[in-house]
Structure formats: structure tokens, C-alpha cells
């Protein structure tokens, strides 16, 4: 094989690779674009693209559905409450795990991350059986319990990663300069791990807002989350108001992305340990 055919082969293969990547990106993005477009469709049925005219009729219909308003309110309440609990409890736990000074640290760390390993459906069924046996039948409490369990590991993980990545000498410098340990924590360590806390909070919020597998077990007839309501109506009928709801949820994600980019930055996000084995 001479040099020219080799380079030609490289170029052809390189071109094929680029084409494949473009195809994969198209596969990832196209369905979302189609959904956005159809959510603004003015037709009352599912017709071929592009829609002849745009309208907000599906959003109006969405707003008129009772279960959407109820579900959305419950979802937001639970996601916010769970995130606040996660950040408080998870940060405290991560700080303690990072300080060490006691036995079984590795085991405890694994324990805090273990809800990520257990399939969500298993957590849902286990919690349902347990909570009904001890007499907790209120849907809101049950949902909150489930959501805290599945989202807590995200905060623990990201805060642990940012604690491990911080410059410990800064805290030592503060101590040497006369700060008490408490002052050093609040004014040096905490600001340093803020990006981990924000990342953890954003992921916890997103996971909570999206969960179906755990929530399906824990709802009661009057308390359900938006995804659970949407899944049920998805199975009942094929209605484009769900596309409108999808656009709404995409907007929430966009807000979360902006928060992440402003407070953390995507390049630093990769150092937060969420995408590491």
C-alpha cells in the first residue's frame, strides 16, 4: 500500500465517520424538534410535517386540563422540597465523609451512593410496602420519601467530588491566619464547594421532576406527579397536548442548563464525578 492510497483511505473513512456522527446527532435532536413543531400545530389531528399554520391551541388545552395543573403543582413542590433536603443532608454527609476520622468511611460512602444502583422500580415497590405497613398512606409524604432517596446520591456525589478537588491549603491558610474551624468552613470551604452543591441540586431537581418508576407506586388518587399523569394519559389517548407539556418540560430543562452554565460551567461539570464510573 503506498502513501497516497493510504491517505485516500483515511480521508474516505474520516468522511464516513463525520457522516455517522452527523447522523447520530440528528437522531438525538430530530425527535425533539418534531415535538416542538407539533406542539404548535394548529390542526386538531396528527398530520404530516410541516404544520400548515401555527397556534397555541394545544397549550390552551393543556392549561384547561385539571390533572396537569394538579400534577405540576405536586411535582414542583416535591422536587423543590426534595432538593432542599438533599442539599442540606447531602452536603453535611459529604463534608463528614471527606473529613474522615472514623472507621468504615469507604463503606459509608458506598452506602450513600447505593440508591443509584438499585433499580427505581425496586425502590418504589419496597417503599410502598414498607410505608403502608407502618401506616404512612398520605401520597405527598410517600412521594417525598421516594424522591429524597433517589436524588440524595447525586448531591453527595457532586459535593464529595468538589471537596476532593478543592485546594485544602486555602482552609489551612485560613486556620493559620486565626480563623476558627467554623469560620474557615463557612467562609472558605463552603464557597469552594458551591459548584458541586449547585450541580448536585440541579441534577436532583431534574431527576425528581422526571421520575416515573418510583412515583407510580407511591401516588394516591388525589396526589400524583406530572410525569405519572402524563404517562397515564399517554396510554389512554394520543393527544398533542402532551407535546405541549413536553415543550414546557424542555423549557424547565433550559432554565436548569442556564443555571448550570452560569454557576458551574460545562467544562467544570465534567469534573464533578457524575459521569465517571
Amino acid at each position: 500500500m503506498n502513501g497516497r492510497t493510504k491517505r485516500l483511505g483515511d480521508r474516505i473513512l474520516g468522511g464516513a465517520m463525520v457522516a455517522m456522527l452527523a447522523l447520530m446527532l440528528a437522531f438525538l435532536v430530530t425527535p425533539l424538534l418534531v415535538t416542538c413543531l407539533l406542539a404548535f400545530d394548529s390542526r386538531s389531528f396528527l398530520g404530516p410535517l410541516p404544520p400548515p399554520a401555527l397556534s397555541l391551541r394545544w397549550f390552551e388545552r393543556l392549561a384547561s386540563l385539571d390533572y396537569v395543573a394538579t400534577g405540576l403543582a405536586t411535582s414542583l413542590k416535591i422536587a423543590l422540597l426534595a432538593t432542599v433536603i438533599d442539599v442540606l443532608v447531602g452536603t453535611a454527609a459529604a463534608v463528614a465523609l471527606d473529613r474522615g476520622g472514623f472507621r468504615g468511611r469507604g463503606l459509608l460512602m458506598a452506602a450513600f451512593l447505593s440508591p443509584l444502583i438499585v433499580p427505581a422500580v425496586v425502590i418504589g415497590l419496597a417503599l410502598l410496602l414498607f410505608l403502608s405497613r407502618i401506616g404512612v398512606i398520605d401520597g405527598f409524604t410517600r412521594l417525598l420519601c421516594g424522591h429524597v432517596v433517589i436524588t440524595l446520591p447525586y448531591v453527595v456525589r457532586t459535593v464529595l467530588a468538589s471537596l476532593a478537588g478543592r485546594d485544602r491549603r486555602l482552609t489551612e491558610a485560613a486556620l493559620v491566619l486565626g480563623a476558627t474551624e467554623r469560620q474557615a468552613f463557612w467562609s472558605v470551604t463552603l464557597p469552594l464547594i458551591r459548584s458541586g452543591m449547585v450541580t448536585g441540586a440541579v441534577f436532583a431537581f431534574a431527576v425528581s421532576l422526571d421520575d416515573v418508576a418510583v412515583s407510580m407506586f407511591l401516588t394516591d388518587p388525589s396526589t400524583y406527579t406530572l410525569p405519572v399523569a402524563l404517562v397515564s394519559s399517554m396510554r389512554a389517548s394520543f393527544d398533542l397536548s402532551i407535546a405541549a407539556a413536553a415543550v414546557l418540560l424542555m423549557a424547565v430543562t433550559a432554565v436548569l442548563i442556564i443555571v448550570l452554565e452560569r454557576f458551574v460551567g460545562f467544562d467544570r461539570l465534567l469534573g464533578q464525578g457524575l459521569f465517571r464510573s
Binding site: 425533539l32 418534531v34 454527609a93 427505581a120 415497590l125 420519601c145 474551624e181
Partner: protein, 297 residues
């Protein structure tokens, strides 16, 4: 006076007692124990209880039995298990094959701006509701979706079982690919690009250099990315439920059906325990692969 001010901070620099750490850990441990560990133990117990048809769940004083696990050996359960594994493995493999070149391009080929845009898109996809993505796929490629005329023109029936399997796999791929790519970014960053350059300047064509150098060096990362994708896929719930329309069932869907349709909690618990064991097996493979990586580097 000055001796005092120097001595004070030194005293405080000594790590606080373990009591403080335990105090910080207490709320988290309480949560883990009370609404995670205990319920899982309860699930194990429930899976051993005798189920009387017609009841909701088991009786409190039901006798203990292994009956519920016997069902796990039936062909219908094996079918669900096979389906779960087949589709999960195929989607994870496809996700990996797509993610590897993408991650490589992001790290080595793209300009900083393209890199930021690409990573931003992937993070957005990860954060975006799984339900939204599944619904979007259904809307685009589903049986009543906008691709229907195209499918019919190609002679593919959108309601055939084969096509529904493809659809579920597309859903899993859509979920797994961004995760795989983001996981592999770190792996590829750690590979010295000069090795590949050296091979090429010594006359190797690019594909041979990558196959001989980049891929073997990234192998531990590839293995753990595959297993991460696998654990995600085998516990997927919404994707097979929405895209599979009851024709493609995953283990997780079986568990839910035991709960919602027949209220046979003991059997649902037994399937759950089986699923948990399977997930743990896949994950211990992942940690083995990780340990291998640690030993090598």
C-alpha cells in the same frame, strides 16, 4: 502575648473529634436506614411470604415459602429476562460505538467553541426528562408518528413486533448515548495523542493507528461505559412502557404489573430481588473493570 496568638490556631488545626462528623452524618444515615435499607429488607421478607390469590399483598402472618421464586424458572419469565438483556446489550453496544468517535472528536478535533456546544447539548439531553425524550421518539417514529408514511412506503409495519423492538432500542440508545459520551470524554483525555501521531508518521494509516493504539488504551474506559449503560438500560422503566406498548416487556414492567394489575406483592417482590441481584452482578463487573484500569495506569 504573641506566643498565645501563634499557639491558638495550631490547636484549632487539629481535626475535630469524630463526634462532629457523626453529627453531620446522622440525618443522612437516618434517611438511608429508615426509607431505603429497611424497605429493602422488608422487600426480601415479603418475597418469602405465601400469597393467597385475590388478596392485596400478603397477610401479616402468612407462612414463609420459596414459592414466589419458583416462578422465576418459568419460560415466560426467562423470555422477559432474555428480552431485557438482548435489547439492553444491543442498545449499550450501539451507544458505545457511536459515543466513542463522538467523544474522540469532542476532545481532539473540535474547536473550544464546538466542544462547549457539543458538551452543552449532551448535558441538556441528560437533564432533559426521559419521558419527554421517549414521547418525542414515539411522535417521530412511533406507530402513529410522522414517519409512518415513510415506514409504510418501505414496507415496514409500524405495529409489528420487530419494529416495536427497534423502537424500544432506539429509546434506550437515545438515553444511553449521551451518558456514554460524557463518560468517555475523561478516558480519551487521558490518552496521549502523540502516540497516535507517532504511529501515523511511521506510516500507519489513521484507522490502523486508532485500532492499534487509541482503542486498546481506552478499553477499560470503554468496558466501564458499556456496563454503566447496561445497568441503566436493564432498569429502564418508562422507555419500554411507552415505546413497547405492552408488547415488549422489561423486568421493571413485570414488577409494576404484579403491583397494579394483580396486587401479587410477594411475587413482585421476588422479581424485584432477582432484578436487584442482576443489577448488582453487572455493577460488580463494572467495578472489576475499574480496578483493572487502576492497576494498569
Amino acid at each position: 502575648m504573641s506566643a498565645v496568638t501563634i499557639a491558638r490556631p495550631q490547636e484549632l488545626a487539629i481535626p475535630a473529634p469524630a463526634r462532629m462528623s457523626l453529627l453531620l452524618l446522622a440525618p443522612g444515615l437516618l434517611i438511608l436506614l429508615s426509607i431505603f435499607a429497611l424497605p429493602l429488607l422488608g422487600l426480601v421478607l415479603e418475597s418469602l411470604k405465601q400469597y393467597v390469590p385475590g388478596r392485596v399483598g400478603s397477610a401479616v402472618d402468612a407462612s414463609l415459602t420459596l414459592e414466589n421464586y419458583r416462578e422465576l424458572a418459568t419460560p415466560s419469565f426467562a423470555g422477559v429476562l432474555y428480552e431485557t438483556f438482548k435489547l439492553s446489550a444491543a442498545a449499550s453496544l450501539a451507544g458505545l460505538m457511536a459515543a466513542f468517535p463522538l467523544a474522540y472528536c469532542i476532545v481532539r478535533r473540535f474547536s473550544p467553541r464546538q466542544r462547549a456546544a457539543c458538551i452543552g447539548l449532551l448535558v441538556m439531553l441528560v437533564l432533559l426528562s426521559m419521558l419527554v425524550r421517549t414521547y418525542a421518539l414515539e411522535l417521530a417514529f412511533g406507530s402513529v408518528g410522522i414517519a409512518r408514511p415513510l415506514l409504510l412506503a418501505l414496507g415496514i409495519s409500524p405495529t409489528s413486533r420487530g419494529y416495536i423492538e427497534v423502537l424500544v432500542e432506539a429509546g434506550l440508545l437515545h438515553a444511553v448515548m449521551p451518558i456514554c459520551t460524557l463518560t468517555l470524554l475523561g478516558t480519551i483525555q487521558n490518552i496521549d495523542p502523540r502516540l497516535c501521531d507517532a504511529a501515523q508518521s511511521l506510516g500507519a494509516p489513521a484507522w490502523k493507528a486508532h485500532l492499534g493504539i487509541t482503542v486498546p488504551l481506552a478499553l477499560p474506559g470503554l468496558v466501564s461505559a458499556f456496563l454503566i449503560a447496561m445497568t441503566f438500560a436493564i432498569s429502564a422503566f418508562v422507555i419500554p412502557m411507552v415505546l413497547g406498548k405492552g408488547r415488549v416487556l422489561f423486568l421493571s414492567n413485570t414488577i409494576y404489573t404484579r403491583f397494579s394489575d394483580v396486587a401479587n406483592y410477594p411475587s413482585g417482590a421476588a422479581v424485584s430481588i432477582a432484578m436487584l441481584v442482576i443489577s448488582l452482578l453487572v455493577l460488580s463487573l463494572a467495578s472489576l473493570a475499574h480496578r483493572g484500569k487502576g492497576a494498569r495506569s
